[in-house]
Amino acid sequence: MSRSAENFWDKVYREKTVLSLSSVLGFLALWHLATDILGLMPAIVLPSPEKVFFTIYEKILAPVGEEKLFGHIGVSLVRILVGVGIALGLAIPLGILMGWYEDLDSMASPIIEVLRPIPPIAWIPLAILWFGIGLGSKVFIIAIGVFFPTLINTYIGVKFVDPLLIKAAQTLGAKDKDILWEVVVPASVPLIVAGVRIGVGLGMMCLVAAELVAASTGLGYLIMLGGDDLKPELSITGMILIGILGLLADRVILRFERRVIYWKKE
């Protein structure tokens, strides 16, 4: 690329950044205007942005309930990571095997088809009954949320691998087992990663739902606490942090996606 072209794209990028930044600032200004300046909403219903940021700043190292703000973030992070880890560890191998072995598909499909439409939050009472109100029940709910999209995408990825690639491998001397690991699994990676991305998004929802119902720590609990104690700034703090966490998770997966499917055309 020539120098002038580089400068051109630099400029566009700068302009984009300027636009994005000014839209965020504009949003905060409107929020400020509606609360502090015009008083359209009383502070007990909608606190001003300064108040929310001050709460975040103040609570980082000060206890809110059982934990400091950092502690709540950490607890939620551990729950989501363990939940996602367990779900992926089960869903990806099962999806690969179901997509490849038709007998297993026929056996597992009816059960999965019935379980899949059940919203993960419907499992909350059973989860508490089985795993108590500690880490176990939250991880279980999150894992349920991540499991099904990942499983379905993996299954579809394996099932619909271009048959031509399988034929090519066969005529080059590869046996069934080689074809599964050398052709089918790599070919399904793009769909598997897409499933993980959907799954993790759903997992974030499940995290909040589980923490709203039965927790004394975590960002979902913070959101709930804000409502109970009439401190909406706490709820908003929890929501903003969940949003940031979700965004970061998505970015990490996108990075990973680009790295593993380097071989796809943009």
Partner: protein, 271 residues
């Protein structure tokens, strides 16, 4: 060389293939019998949709005949084998593997040790003139380069038989000519048994020892023209493609074959 004494490499005996589509089945190949001798280059031409590919796939072991049997070295073909390499019309390269890894693919299953595999890959990368592209992925290559990799991948695996399904169909005219000359040269140096499908009559005459003309729907053999055996065009494989296609003998043959195909198309009302 006495062509008649070569053993049969491939043979089809009364092969019929049914083709299922939307709950109805068609007869795609109707009672075809033919033999291909060891070291022979046979080209099948015919109107599109005449069952050429289906017929070739019975030799590949990818399609089972409804009636009749296909044999290699007198043994019935019951499934795909590395001894019958296939070059597919749509390349079928593994997109997550580099040029080298694609060419190496079949060698692993032949139990060839790594150093030897590397040597073979190097040799074929040179043969297809892709030095410098060893670490490229298929999406970074042009259509002609991809097709050369697909051909090298099969050649490197040293199958006894090469089945090539319109391998140059997706290429532009110049690339196609270069590929035809390359293949012709490779055939002379690597001498394998080849069954080749095309709808280009020029390509068929330039490459084939024999040209098989198939009828349309269902596919049957209409005529077989033995180009090499009857010495219709001598030494064409050492000549440039553009020079061959202007020979008087070539043009006469082309007119004959075209006449047969055209009659077939008009007769069966396919257009």
């Amino acid at each position: 060389m006495n062509e008649e004494q070569r053993p049969d490499k491939l043979s089809a005996r009364n092969v019929s293939v049914m083709y299922e589509k939307d709950d109805t089945s068609f007869l795609a190949v109707d009672d075809v019998s033919m033999t291909i001798q060891e070291g022979e280059f046979v080209v099948i031409v015919g109107p599109s949709g005449c069952g050429k590919t289906t017929f070739m796939n019975t030799f590949a072991g990818l399609v089972r005949p409804a009636k009749g049997k296909v044999y290699m070295d007198g043994e019935e073909i019951t499934g795909p084998s590395a001894e019958r390499g296939v070059v597919f019309q749509q390349f079928a390269l593994f997109p997550w593997k580099t040029v080298s890894e694609n060419i190496e693919f079949g060698l692993k299953y032949r139990g060839i040790p790594k150093e030897q595999r590397d040597e073979i890959v190097k040799k074929y990368v040179q043969l297809i003139k892709l030095e410098g592209f060893e670490k490229s992925y298929p999406h970074e290559l042009s259509g002609g380069m991809k097709q050369r990799v697909a051909i090298a991948r099969v050649y490197a695996n040293r199958p006894q038989v090469l089945l090539m399904d319109e391998p140059f169909g997706a290429l532009d005219a110049q690339t196609r000519t270069i590929m035809q000359e390359d293949l012709s040269g490779m055939f002379l140096t690597e001498k394998r048994t080849v069954l080749f499908i095309t709808h280009s009559v020029d390509e068929a005459i330039y490459l084939g020892d024999r040209v098989v003309i198939m009828t349309a729907r269902p596919g049957k053999i209409k005529k077989i023209i033995p180009i090499t055996r009857e010495n219709l065009i001598p030494d064409r494989r050492q000549m440039r493609y553009d020079d061959v296609v202007n020979l008087k003998e070539f043009l006469e043959l082309k007119a004959d074959i075209w006449g047969l195909i055209k009659a077939e198309i008009l007769e069966k009302h396919i257009l």
